[in-house]
């Protein structure tokens, strides 16, 4: 097992290097930078600023300087927000995290319940409705669903806020602050849950159907065990074991922020920061964040593989 983990860990390194090179070059390709977007600056001053930020050096040099700084935990300075990138990201990422973690908990618990239930009641009316719901969930463009919900609940019914994290000019503290944030979270969390629940429900349902067909379930039935014990104790364990690795893939999603949903709901999260950084050509922020996401994705894959090897010893031999 140790050997497998080590091998899998070494496997990550070239991917990591490749990703960082691609992302770095992509940003280096961008014509124009933050300095260009200020029209009032003189050519001399612009040149001085470029020298100051090291933008006059060749790309390869800049890449190695960037790597060296990144190793020391220095990811550059946001030229728009006048703050270090790490501090800025840290400031916004938790707003995204709170939405993501609530969504994750809701999605997994609802999907598990519905998936298991529909697997035991295949071809029932409820099962058919769920199947349709799954397709709706897979096919809605997130921005359109967001807009529809804002229009319906926010504009027409006026029962939920249009966006943001707190009311404009709100000064509430303590419990009323928490309640206010929760009220603003209902729509974005609801939409994100709906959008991600489809594939997971399907996954649980088919996993459960497979598990119920296995030989030991027939044995359990022959022994005369109660159907409930069979479903929840014997089949469920087998059905959710592979799903645990899926949880590892959710890792980047917890911090990535939902770009579209945050934009539409004006949620002060990392996804919106990303689009804002883009429009101000604040590339250090954007680049660091893209790198962070890629890093988390690679780590997520790593954890998934390791978890899989823990769950299924046959994998380790390959």
């Amino acid at each position: 097992m140790k050997k497998y983990i080590l091998r899998r860990f070494i496997h990550m390194i070239p991917t990591l290097i490749g990703v960082s090179v691609i992302i770095f070059y992509l940003f280096a390709l961008m014509p124009g930078d933050y300095i260009d977007s200020n029209r009032q600056i003189t050519a001399q001053r612009a040149h001085d600023l470029r020298v100051l930020y090291g933008l006059d050096k060749p790309i390869i040099m800049r890449y190695f300087i960037w790597v060296k700084n990144a190793m020391e935990g220095n990811f550059g300075f946001s030229l728009k927000y006048l703050e270090s990138v790490t501090k800025l990201i840290n400031q916004y990422i938790w707003n995204s995290f709170i939405i993501a973690i609530v969504t994750l908990a809701l999605t997994w618990s609802i999907a598990l319940v519905i998936g298991v239930y529909t697997a035991t009641k295949q071809h029932s009316l409820f099962d058919r409705l769920v199947t349709l719901g799954v397709f709706a969930s897979l096919s809605f463009p997130s921005f359109f669903l967001g807009l529809l919900m804002i229009k319906f609940f926010g504009v027409d019914l006026k029962i939920l806020p249009l966006g943001g994290m707190i009311d404009t000019g709100s000064t509430s503290t303590g419990l009323s602050y928490v309640l206010e944030v929760i009220r603003h979270m209902i729509l974005p969390v609801g939409i994100l849950t709906f959008l991600s629940i489809g594939s997971l429900t399907r996954y649980f349902r088919s996993g459960m159907i497979d598990a119920l067909k296995l030989d030991f379930i027939r044995t359990a039935r022959a022994k005369g065990l109660k159907e409930r014990t069979i479903v929840f104790k014997h089949a469920l364990k087998n059905a959710i074991l592979p799903a645990i690795t899926l949880l590892a893939f959710e890792l980047p999603g917890l911090f990535s922020g939902a770009i579209i949903t945050e934009q539409i709901f004006n949620w002060p999260g990392i996804g919106r920061l990303q689009l804002e950084a883009l429009s101000f050509r604040d590339y250090p922020v954007l680049m660091t964040f893209t790198m962070l996401l890629s890093f988390l994705t690679i780590m997520g894959n790593f954890f998934a593989d390791v978890l899989y090897a823990v769950a299924d010893p046959r994998i380790r031999l390959k």
Partner: protein, 305 residues
């Protein structure tokens, strides 16, 4: 006896024909599949033939008609230049569907060839191709597309050319997953007896890959192609909504929804942005349902999952 003789004459062709025939039969028995095919035919006709039937011209700018609500003359109202929304919806459909289908074909070609080569040769070639795929898959899709989209905006690519570049972008993001899937299939196909026979016959690698391995992945490819068209349409609409995909004056379903960014249009003039949104939704649902039905039809073991 007669039947046995027939089989002797043309064994391989006959068998594969019946296989496909059976699959089509199974597909047509599925009510949802038939309904979604009907919808897709309607949407294709709506987008590609519809504009010829419209009494309006896509470039007619009519000041008196700016943002008129739906009426008998303009069933879906008019937009901010006084253009007929229904006609724009059809024209946008052309663009969105073309991008979805073309980007699917491009990533399918790339993914299939690279995946098959990778799985067939193994070793260094496999390592290189799969490493590149790994790297591309590790960069989250939407941020990557957004950055490339922004790059295009900086380069001031004109509206006419952007849609081609959006196609390329989507296929660039789409091929690695496909290549992995095909590679897995090829790895298991390679071990089968018919490939041993191909080896013994001394067929060239090219012939083995293109005539024997890839055709055997077709059932999987058809399903994946359908589903990736759906995701292509979704990605294009998202990018265009953010102003980073297809940009006006070229219409696309995504950039039509952009109208919702204007608060008054969003609240009071729903005809500007709800129809394109529904068009995306219906198209993608129909494609996804069809993909699912195709999977059931081509691989009956998967039925009901």
């Amino acid at each position: 006896m007669l039947l046995a003789n027939k089989h002797k004459l043309e064994p391989s062709k006959k068998r594969s024909e019946t296989q496909w025939h059976q699959a089509v039969q199974r597909l047509l028995k599925n009510k949802l599949a038939v309904i979604s095919i009907g919808f897709l035919v309607f949407i294709l006709l709506f987008s590609f033939v519809g504009p010829f039937l419209s009494p309006y011209n896509s470039n007619d700018v009519e000041v008196a008609l700016i943002k008129n609500p739906p009426s008998l003359a303009h069933i879906l109202g008019t937009d901010d230049y006084g253009r007929d929304v229904l006609l724009r919806l059809m024209l946008a459909g052309r663009i969105s569907l073309t991008i979805g289908i073309t980007s699917m074909i491009l990533s399918l070609i790339l993914g299939t060839i690279l995946g098959a080569v990778s799985g067939y040769y193994g070793g260094v070639i496999d390592n290189i191709i799969m490493r590149i795929a790994d790297i591309l898959m590790s960069i989250p899709g939407l941020p990557l597309l957004i950055i490339v989209g922004a790059l295009l905006s900086e380069l001031k690519v004109s509206s006419d050319y952007r849609l081609y570049i959006v196609m390329l972008m989507l296929s660039l993001v789409g091929w690695p997953g496909l290549a992995r899937l095909i590679r897995g299939q090829v790895l298991s196909l390679r071990e089968q007896t018919f490939m041993k026979a191909a080896d013994v016959l001394g067929l060239s690698d090219r012939r083995k890959i293109f005539n024997h391995l890839i055709p055997n992945t077709f059932p999987l490819l058809i399903v994946v192609a359908t589903l990736s068209t759906a995701s292509g349409i979704l990605s294009e609409s998202t990018l265009s909504f953010l102003g980073l995909g297809v940009i006006p004056p070229t219409p696309s379903w995504g950039n039509m929804i952009n109208a919702a960014n204007n608060l008054i249009d969003f609240q009071k003039r729903a005809w500007l942005w709800i129809p394109p949104g529904m068009a995306i939704f219906i198209t993608v649902v129909a494609i996804n349902l069809l993909g699912d039905a195709l999977r059931d039809a081509l691989d009956p073991k998967m039925k009901g999952r």
